[in-house]
């Protein structure tokens, strides 16, 4: 009966509920995620959750916003401006760093698979995808301007890389393939070097 030490430093109830949701998702997955399980992680009753969020979907939409914000912040940390190096670091963020969050990747694929039925989910996944594609496009265009990359269709190249990223994550989860992410990291490099990089 002690899921976690109640951290008094952050008395913000929302932050606590977000953390509880995250733990419940990691432990039980999305399909078996219930208000009761979130409440157990939160250390309060289910009605306490309903006091802060009217419906389960409201809570989950808020959780997605929370998660996407965190991820966007971590991408924003990439500060190099050199196009080739920046591309490298971005691909590492997307394909290497996520390997540590296996259980969250599992739950996120479950939530992604509900996008066709839940507009609130779809909206947020789209927004996140758009942001990442924008980052990739910016790097590619920068590289083209500097003559490091060939004059390719930056939008198409960004979509191609995102397809590799999504494919790798799907495969890592579905096939429980521990090497799917590394394989895809290599494939992304092949794509960058053969399609993007100008070989003088």
């Amino acid at each position: 009966m002690m899921p976690d030490a109640p951290d008094r430093r952050s008395a913000d109830p929302n932050e606590g509920i977000m953390r509880a949701t995250s733990r419940a998702l990691r432990d039980h997955g999305y399909a078996d995620l219930t208000i009761k399980r979130i409440a157990e992680e939160y250390g309060k009753s289910t009605a306490a959750i309903h006091y802060h969020y009217d419906t389960k979907d409201d809570l989950l939409a808020a959780y997605l916003d929370h998660l996407i914000d965190q991820f966007a912040s971590s991408v924003r940390e990439v500060e190099t401006t050199d196009p080739a190096e920046r591309m490298d670091l971005l691909l590492d963020k997307l394909l290497v760093d996520v390997a540590e969050y296996r259980e969250l990747l599992v739950a996120m694929l479950e939530m992604r698979s509900q996008a066709p039925y839940k507009e609130a989910f779809r909206e947020r996944f789209r927004q996140n995808d758009e942001y990442l594609r924008y980052m990739l496009k910016a790097v590619i265009n920068h590289g083209i301007d500097e003559g490091v990359f060939r004059d390719v269709d930056a939008d198409h190249a960004a979509r191609a890389l995102m397809t590799i990223v999504d494919g790798a994550r799907t495969r890592a989860v579905v096939l429980d393939d521990g090497e799917a992410l590394e394989t895809a990291r290599q494939t992304a490099d092949e794509y960058v070097e053969t399609v993007l990089v100008a070989d003088d």
Copy 2:
């Protein structure tokens, strides 16, 4: 004795249940798939379903077998032996032909997202993946032997292409991106032409 009488024309209950499961999946998705809904499509009671399959998971495992068999048959139809053309037709099967089955793609992503929790599902998705990778590897090795493709790591190239395929399907479903499959078809071609095809 043998439950499968080969030439009992019509009224094979199993076939009917497979069709009912398929329709229920298309109409309601996996998350909202219930025995009751399958029974409604079947036109009989829920107990009739339980008469043929002990548990819901048994039924769904049988349905996956059914589906994978169908898909493998359709891939086996590709008869060209010329490596470049065969690769082209295989990629069409994997990325173009599936566009017609949007609702089934949605339901399949849902089921795939349950693979970490259901070994029976994971097993079957792995088997299907292995089969497709084997087909791709065979074509690539054939192409290398004939000097049409460079002497690349066939296993890695097959995995790279499958990553693009899985990424495209995930994106088509999650982002409701009607062009995700076409974009990926183009990306797959770029990969084949720049990484696989021997230039000069």
